[in-house]
């Protein structure tokens, strides 16, 4: 038999039929819904008189629009409220399992799926959100889809798809102290570029990846889309199985053992073909951050902002200059020491308990610098509760951080958590596009430890100096 990659295996397990032109009808095991990209799809079903084929393979949660302040108060923003109420009507009408705003299990859809054991190894998982790639950390083929495709999955439990190409990114070696999964992924994106993975599914491999916990693997897979790849994958192993065991919706008892037997087959075969192979050495990766308005503009914290004059291509040079102007930075300046106004620790990239622990380690016994607003937005109600049981909330509150409710929050500024024009933010989120966190806002992407370091020093800082 021809050796296959992990992607090939999951793909083969889910092909219902391949049409004469090469498009496949691919079966979907889990469909995750949120309030922003689903209303038009439900409306489409209704207009066509179609049913939701498998509500028991579907899950819904509100996250993008929700306020992260007191939840017992009514939602002030009428359009946000309408979207949330629309989702609530739709899940009721179509019988979709739903985690409502006031449920302790509510949270960011890409935190909730793995946390509940809804996302499992070997599955195909889709959601109308590009960061669905996160669930690839489970060893599942997970990718974001548009709303027309959401409607297609609702009606058919399948999607029309051509197989992606296979890319492997291998990170061998031992990460230096103070270097996190976020630094690894920013370095990978800096290396291959934001279109480097377009058309591919990326399998992350190598000892440095294997050594990451599930939260770290989720951070890596989450930002596959920032490297252009719709999906990222990490082969499931004992770290995965230990994580999945006893989750509310995971298989139980003997079923779990049968599942693990199957999941152990989900590895890339020796000699399988990758269309593209990229390797990084763990030792070369430093705490990193972005300086521009594209996630590929990555620098080590010890580095200097690049000089457009060094760029030979005219249009690229102009784009670099525009990024510097937008970001309020000078060519060649040291990035460390740049003052920040806001610190955001949260998002589907970095809002899990492990992320909050890393931030708390830096924040403990220190104070948020004068004039800096620092917010912690846990990924789910359960993450928040766990952090409170560990006393992390008190560390943050004592230091002067805001301790908020779960949601997407300032990652994309659909709720009231937004930057104002010109504000500079050290953010653990995934996109630094112009206006992403609020019109005119300036975003530096970095790890939770680096974000906490920026909060307590008031400027972009090498977190290694503080631990």
């Amino acid at each position: 038999m021809v050796p296959r990659t992990l992607f090939d295996k999951i793909w083969d397990h889910h092909v219902v039929e391949t049409l004469p032109d090469g498009t496949s009808i691919l079966y979907i095991d889990r469909h995750l819904l949120h309030e922003v990209t689903s209303p038009q799809a439900f409306e489409g079903l209704r207009l066509a008189g179609r049913r939701l084929r498998h509500p028991e393979m579907t899950m819904a949660v509100v996250d993008h629009n929700v306020p992260t302040s007191d939840r017992t108060q009514p939602i002030e923003e009428p359009e946000s409220r309408n979207q949330i109420e629309t989702l609530e009507r739709n899940v009721k009408e179509f019988g979709v399992p739903y985690f409502p705003l006031l449920s302790a299990s509510q949270g960011i859809v890409h935190v909730v799926g793995p946390e509940q054991g809804i996302s499992l190894p070997g599955m195909t998982i889709v959601c109308g959100d590009s960061h669905t790639s996160t669930h690839g950390a489970m060893g599942a083929l997970a990718f974001g889809i548009g709303t027309s495709e959401v409607e297609h999955v609702m009606a058919t439990q399948t999607i029309l798809q051509r197989p992606a190409k296979n890319m492997r990114v291998t990170v061998e070696g031992q990460l230096a102290p103070g270097v996190s999964a976020k630094d690894v992924m920013l370095s990978i994106i800096g290396h291959i570029g934001t279109a480097g993975g377009t058309g591919y599914v990326i399998e992350f491999a190598g000892s440095a990846i294997r050594g990451l916990d599930m939260a770290g693997r989720m951070t890596i897979c989450n930002m596959s889309i920032e490297a252009g790849a719709r999906a990222g994958l990490v082969a499931p192993d004992d770290t995965t199985f230990d994580y999945v065991r006893n989750r509310p919706f995971a298989p139980k008892g003997e079923g779990f053992e049968h599942a693990v037997t199957f999941w152990r087959t989900l590895v890339t075969d020796e000699g399988a073909h990758f269309d593209k192979d990229v390797a990084l050495r763990a030792e070369d990766i430093a705490p990193s951050l972005t300086w521009g308005t594209s996630p590929e503009t990555v620098l080590p914290i010890t580095g200097n902002v690049p000089d457009p004059a060094q760029e030979p291509d005219e249009s690229k040079r102009a784009q670099m200059q525009r990024m510097l102007d937008y970001m309020g930075l000078e060519a060649g300046q040291k990035i460390a020491g740049t003052p920040v106004d806001v610190v955001f620790i949260g998002s589907c990239t970095n809002s899990r308990i492990e992320d909050l622990r890393a931030a708390a380690q830096v924040a403990a016994g220190r104070k948020v610098a004068d004039g800096v607003r620092a917010m912690i937005v846990p990924g789910s109600g359960l993450v928040k509760r766990q952090a409170e049981e560990e006393g992390l909330d008190q560390i943050f509150l004592d230091a002067g951080f805001e301790w908020r409710e779960a949601g997407c929050s300032m990652c994309l500024g659909m709720n009231p958590d937004k930057l104002t024009p010109g504000q500079r933010c050290a953010s653990t989120s995934n996109r630094n596009f112009e206006g992403r966190q609020g019109p005119g806002g300036r975003t530096h992407l970095l790890s939770p430890a680096m974000a906490a370091a920026a909060a307590v020093t008031g400027c972009l800082t090498d977190a290694r100096e503080l631990v």
Binding site: D29, E56, E77, H152, T158, A195, T198, G228
Partner: protein, 207 residues
């Protein structure tokens, strides 16, 4: 979905790499529950000044490009979020065809679902089309989907590739769901097979 056969229209050039979906439509305009009416938000941060007035320098605010139905850009158009609001906003603005050296995957897909034709052409060809577009209303580009060519104002024909299934769907204005449901028997057979092979596969039920 509206059929796409041929289109002869004004083209506008946005000579930038990595035009992301936040730039096409910022997240704060995603609060609608409709697909229509998003054209007024397309390229918001480039099209309007902070006081809400039109930016007269932005290409889509100038004649004749205000009526552009074709957009030509550089690499990785539509990167970022999966929001279908991006093609909805373009479509509502009047854009039926986008041309770039490369596209982000999800955006590329989403275009087809809405009757927008994305055409990938080499960067130097995009440069030529951008140059054509500066001739304004005298510079209509013609997109002939059945023959798979872009016809430049001087009559030169530039061939392009398209997946045959997607071409068929665009030409006929077909919706994928109806097509897939014709394979309902195969889907059911697949479901029975998986139930037999992986009986431990849980379902999601909440009390």
């Amino acid at each position: 979905m509206e059929k796409f056969t041929t289109l002869s229209a004004v083209a506008a050039a946005l000579p930038e790499d990595n035009i992301d979906t936040d730039k096409i439509i910022p997240a704060r305009f995603l609060k609608t529950t409709q697909r229509t009416g998003l054209g007024k938000y397309a390229f918001d941060s480039m099209r309007y000044r902070p006081d809400g007035s039109e930016n007269p320098d932005f290409i889509l605010n100038r004649e004749p490009w205000r009526k552009a139905e074709i957009l030509v850009t550089y690499d990785n158009l539509g990167c970022g979020s999966s929001r279908e609001h991006a093609p909805w906003a373009l479509l509502d603005f009047g854009i039926r065809c986008v041309i770039a050296p490369s596209f982000a995957d999800i955006f590329f897909n989403n275009c087809f679902k809405n009757g927008i034709l994305p055409i990938a052409l080499p960067r130097d060809v995009c440069d030529q089309l951008m140059s054509d577009s500066t001739m304004g209303s005298n510079a209509r580009l013609t997109i002939d989907l059945p023959r798979q060519v872009v016809i430049r104002p001087d009559g030169e024909e530039v061939p392009f590739e398209i997946d045959p299934f997607r071409k068929h769907m665009l030409l006929e204005g077909l919706d994928d769901i109806g097509q897939t449901l014709q394979h309902d028997t195969e889907i059911k057979t697949f479901e029975q097979k998986v139930d037999g092979e992986r009986p431990w596969m849980p379902t999601i039920t909440l009390d």
